[in-house]
Amino acid sequence: MRRDMTISIASSMPALDVDRLRDDFPILKRRVHGKPLVYLDNAATTQKPHAVIDRLTRYYREENANIHRGVHALSVEATVAYDAARDRIRQFLNAAEAREVIFVRGATEAINLVAATYGRTCVRTGDEILVSEMEHHSNIVPWQMLCEATGATLQVVPITDTGELRLDEFERLLSPRTRIVAMTHVSNALGTITPIETLVRMAHAQGAVVLVDGAQAVAHMPVDVQAIDCDFYVFSGHKIFGPTGIGVLYGRSALLDAMPPYQGGGDMIRSVTFEGTSYNEVPYKFEAGTPNIAGAIGLAEALSYVSEVGLTRIAAYERDLLSYGTEALSAIPGLRLTGTAAHKAGILSFVIDDIHPHDIGTILDQDGVAIRAGHHCCQPLMARLGVPATARASLAMYNTREEIDALVKALRTARAVFA
């Protein structure tokens, strides 16, 4: 019902003007090995529009100062811009309050922060933490470390052969012992979109707290943390056309208030004596030291850019591109797509008979086609799929059907080399 609504809204709005969009990304004009760059590694990182690059430059040229410190004009300007960035992100995620937005280095740090603070105080021996079989290492390892420190156990929800989460198993593994459910919103290796609202509802019914890894979702679909009703939502700026080294942890304010600080240092304190220290309020409690000010401001600019293009429109455009790509790749003899869930974001993960993904990657690169080859930081998933690695083409809003055609042509070259 909701999906139908989304589609009808999408079809009533003007389609995405991809040529105009591409003009906003200077790097897309580059040539690689004498060929036009075909950038299909967007799940690894996305390219940056002029708006973001210019915003970073302007910050360093005209506004650079430390925040929350000086009384001078520059410091005030930088502080205003940094605070405005936080509110821009609140708006983007539809969080209730700006203080629910914590700036971190990326999704990885956000998950580690939750594991080290919420986890260390609320998880005990005998408790369980639930993840899925298709999580990124960053949504596995911090929980393993937490389990080791607390005596809790990690439970893993299996997936089907097509790469869908086994809902029956999810339900079976959930129990009053489940303290934290940590789930991806979109699988980075398979593209599967998980039924996150359902998962949150089921987990909450058992009293568990839910962290959603949104690293692969935010650039491809509208995200509303209040509608999802999750407790934590994390993403990285560089995967949504923003700078590297900046990311976001969204947390429900009641939880954040109760959590201990993450790192100690400046800005996270209220007062310090050698006898003891009292901590600052949320969000500053979690932001020790001078933060990535330029990164936060650049990320806010990226989110404004994406919102202007429109995520509903981006989702519709990428859906069409994905089905074009799925059909085109399926026509290549010996190629097998891994991850064919019914609900998928723009990721085409595949293997080809008798050609190792690494060799595919090298051959494609010679044609200017950039893809990822490897285990995608998902070694347990690769083991489940029975492959050491896959080749992965991952789409963004600026990719075109012509680029899919270039991918297909390069894959045919790879097949010819190994014929």
């Binding site: 090995h33 008798d354 050609i355 190792h356 993904p357 690494h358 060799d359 090298t362 051959i363 010679q366 080859a373 490897g374 285990h375 070694q379 690769m382 050491p388 690695a389 070259t413 010819a416 080399v417 190994f418």
Partner: protein
């Protein structure tokens, strides 16, 4: 196809990838495991050394064409050689694959086929994984050898 690609994936490489030689474990002797965490390539090198001579060698595992062909060619080139010669060969091989692309290729017989990786610095690890693992087996270091 570009000249660099043709150089990298020449017939002898493709042949050894398709039909790797000495692709088998040895019942006795030493072994070492090699792992490239970047791409997931994993192989085991088996080694029999008698009176300071490598009398038999085999390998197993999975990897890209370059790592498989390199392992296969390696087994052919070290079998029957004194350990000291194998170590020297490894050094010369390592020098060859890490030299600048335009440097002359030293005389290494069939192993010269791997000189093409010099155009692809990211693939040097693929070509050297088997050799590092062999080196560990020679030293009888009982650990997983990583390229990282």
């Amino acid at each position: 196809m570009s000249a660099d690609l043709q150089e990298l994936y020449q017939q002898i490489i493709l042949d050894h990838n398709r039909r790797p030689r000495n692709f088998r474990p040895l019942g006795e002797g030493r072994k070492a495991e090699g792992f490239n965490p970047l791409c997931g390539d994993r192989l085991t090198v088996y080694l029999k050394v008698e009176d300071g001579v490598v009398t038999d060698v085999g390998f197993q595992g999975s990897g890209c064409a370059i790592s498989k062909a390199s392992a296969s060619l390696m087994t052919e080139s070290v079998k029957g050689k004194p350990v000291a010669d194998v170590v020297a060969l490894f050094e010369r091989f390592q020098k060859m694959i890490t030299a600048p692309p335009d440097a002359p290729v030293s005389r290494l017989g069939k192993l010269e086929a791997l000189a093409g990786v010099r155009q692809f610095p990211i693939r040097v690890k693929c070509a050297s994984l088997a050799w590092h693992t062999l080196r560990a087996a020679l030293d009888s270091r009982d650990e997983v050898i990583s390229t990282e």
